[in-house]
Amino acid sequence: MIDSALLLAISAMATCLFAALLSPCIGRFPALQRLSVSLLLAASGALAMAAGLFGLNDSEAVMTLPIGLPWLPMHLHLDALSAFFMLTIGILLLPVGIYSVGYLKEIVAKNGSIQQMGLFLPLFALGMQGVVLADDAYTFMVFWEIMSLASYFLVTFEHENEATRKAGFLYLLMAHLAGLLILGAFSVLYAAAGDFSFVAMRNAELSPGMATAAFLLAAFGFGMKAGVVPLHVWLPDAHSAAPSNVSALMSGIMLKVAIFGFMRLIWDLVGMHEFAWWWGALVLAAGSSSAITGILMALQQHDLKRLLAYSSVENVGIILIGIGMAMTFAASGHPLIAVLGMIAALYHTINHALFKGMLFMGAGAVMHATGSRDMESMGGLIHRMPATAVFVLIACISISGLPPFNGFVSEWLTFQTALLTPHLENTLLAALIPFSASMLALAGALAAACFVKLFGIVFQGQARSTAAAQAHEVDGWMKAGMAIPALFCLLLGVLPTLFIPLIESVPQMLIHASLAGSVQPENWLWLTPVSADRASYAAPMMLFGMLILAALIYWRLHGRGKRILRSAVWSCGHAPLNPRMQYTSTSYSQPLKRIFSGAYLPEVHEGTRYGVHPLVVHSVVYAVHIGDLFYRRLYLPVGRITQAIADRLAHEHERGMHAYLAYIFSTILLLLLWVVQ
């Protein structure tokens, strides 16, 4: 049986496939190529959105495609979980497709061709949609690899640049390692089920040891792809090396597909009844450390896209905190609270797709206008790019978790879940969750600081370079691409009461419990996740109140013919500043660098160069470098140890002929002795 939702989903995939096949054929006409590929992507996004919306309402549907291995056709399946993630994919693919029409024009102008992008961008989208729809391990892995490899070629789009090639290699390496671990997790399930199909795996009985093995493999495999600390090192490099529309998709959706994979494998295939108590704690710990590390690192970046990439690490951490709490509560027999945690996580998933996609698109627009990724060379762009500035501002407010936008709703729900901790019997967990929640609160505050910095340094003040001073607004396609997620951010922020019942079918499927009774769809004004006397949030009223307040302030400042005084930007009424006297991105985050110096371990390089005489100072150098803590303290030592072992082995290889003879000799002797045994 095929229902309309699955049909829509498959046509979304078919559209991507068509775009990928069409693109090389029309490579001689770059204008036509970029227009058709981008618009087909947008169409695929719209179809995926529709499939997701229908799928969340409908019952499940399955389909077997007549392709694949001879004895193993590809199974596709649309249930609530995949429908939700189809919706997430579609909701960002649509605007990014529209945005790409304008963005790719720049790339064509710069590179002369978009052959590589035209082929791999649709394949990348196809891979992500396929992973979400897969209904057997084989189909899942095939689409997973399509996704990984296509994104590798997109990351290395500007392969003339050596840093890009390095980032691409690191990404490819980690993606393959992740693929291997995921394959391991599926093999464990296959050993239990005896079949590749998810139906069989779902029904298989797992011993506790096998379940734990599957959980650990899946957690590390998907965690690597999702960029969970300490497996995140590929992420900042790859996201900043990729073209902006690709970064938007990678950060906005690909990380979510990894979250999807984890939920599919652990919640759906392994199942809630197999959960050990510490699984949720592990996910929670990983989520908290990602949230705090990600935002701390983001604060110290002055490369716009690296900042956004580290912020993605933080947001994945927030999602994982929600999932971890859901797992903990589910394992300890509180399904209702688990449902709340999962809804918070899912809500944040779609939110992050929206605002991070929008921020990367905004970064692309800014980079296109100023030709640089370095925030220190921007400033004052609000005057020259007003539309982009508004969209980025909306995204910044959303990601900082401030009402009336969507980020507030999901973080508020996460906190509401955390506040229900006293229901837990296990004291260790009961202590861990408030700890995570306080980490989350700290991360939220730091995120606000981080995005104040982003918006302030990039869009406000005075231009720090001539390129920034001569910047111009982007074209209508790119503006439209950013406007759509901005609209969704507002809608999801104002109408959570309409959206939560829709996504509630996911926890209904996975936890078999529902919040019905606490979230009333008929009561569209008030969001009351637990009970009305405990906590409630009326987003429309909040928006209304904010509008009234804004009107009052405007009236107070500008009403009744008050004279408006204008003076130099950021000079506080004193004599005008020049651009070099303003706050820079580094100086803005300097106090936090001082406070958290234990986590940053800054490397200070100071030195004085003297001229002809020791009293004549030629120049003074002061540089502070902050690298990724985990890269320095975990990856480099592991790399060094591996290198040392390899060197020792290589040295053994270099021994003379006598040593080789001795190896043969002792091998024969040992084998003989072993045979006699």
Partner: protein, 220 residues
């Protein structure tokens, strides 16, 4: 009666083989190594002759004659010629000193007897306890290849392994089929000639037949 005779004779030959292997390891001078190698060939030929007489396999006479000519005379002569022509240093240069080599060799012999134990128990053949000795001789040849520096001593070690294998074949199964034996003999001859060629080339290229020197030079 014949069986007892055969057994005793082959046992004597086997112990001689083992003794000569130890003697090969214990020599300090290259020429005396060569002498003992020739002696090993002669003992091998005698063993073959004994087996031929007692078992009555006529082709073994031919085999014995060939062994005597090839391993007792021709190969030692070829090697002697190489040593003389190339002015190889007359000392054997060991990597491991003599007493330690001897101790290792002793341990190897013990291990071989231990390893051969289950096979001897199963074996129906009259020559069963020669197997352990033959195996020990193979290992001693290998030990010689490992612990000596010169290429020429390694070739002698290799050839003495071949001797040991031949001895095993003769002792355990009354010789291989004629055609196989001919083939092996021919192979060994060709191998000796090729070794000779190699020595010449090594000498021309590296100015030495010492493997360590060759390795050092080839690294550069």
């Amino acid at each position: 009666m014949d069986d007892v005779m055969l057994q005793e004779a082959i046992s004597v030959a086997a112990s001689l083989m083992l003794l000569i292997s130890f003697a090969l390891l214990a020599q300090h001078r290259l020429l005396s190594v060569l002498h003992w190698f020739a002696a090993q060939g002669v003992v091998l030929a005698l063993t073959t002759l004994l087996v031929a007489v007692i078992s009555g396999h006529y082709e073994l006479y031919f085999s014995a004659l060939m062994t005597l000519l090839l391993k007792g005379a021709l190969l030692p002569w070829l090697l002697w010629r190489i040593i003389r022509k190339m002015h190889v240093h007359r000392e054997v240069e060991p990597l491991v000193n003599m007493p330690v080599t001897m101790l290792i060799a002793l341990t190897l012999v013990l291990i071989c007897f231990y390893v051969a134990l289950p096979i001897e128990r199963m074996s129906q053949l009259v020559t069963h306890n020669t197997l352990a000795i033959a195996m020990a001789t193979v290992f001693l040849g290998m030990l010689m290849m490992i612990t000596r520096k010169k290429a020429i001593t390694q070739v002698i070690g290799f050839l003495s392994i071949e001797n040991a294998l031949f001895f095993t074949a003769v002792g355990a199964t009354h010789g291989m089929p004629m055609i196989v034996e001919l083939g092996v003999a021919f192979d060994v001859l060709i191998a000796a000639i090729i070794f000779g060629l190699f020595f010449t080339h090594m000498r021309n290229t590296f100015d030495s037949l010492d493997l360590d020197v060759i390795q050092e030079k080839s690294k550069r």
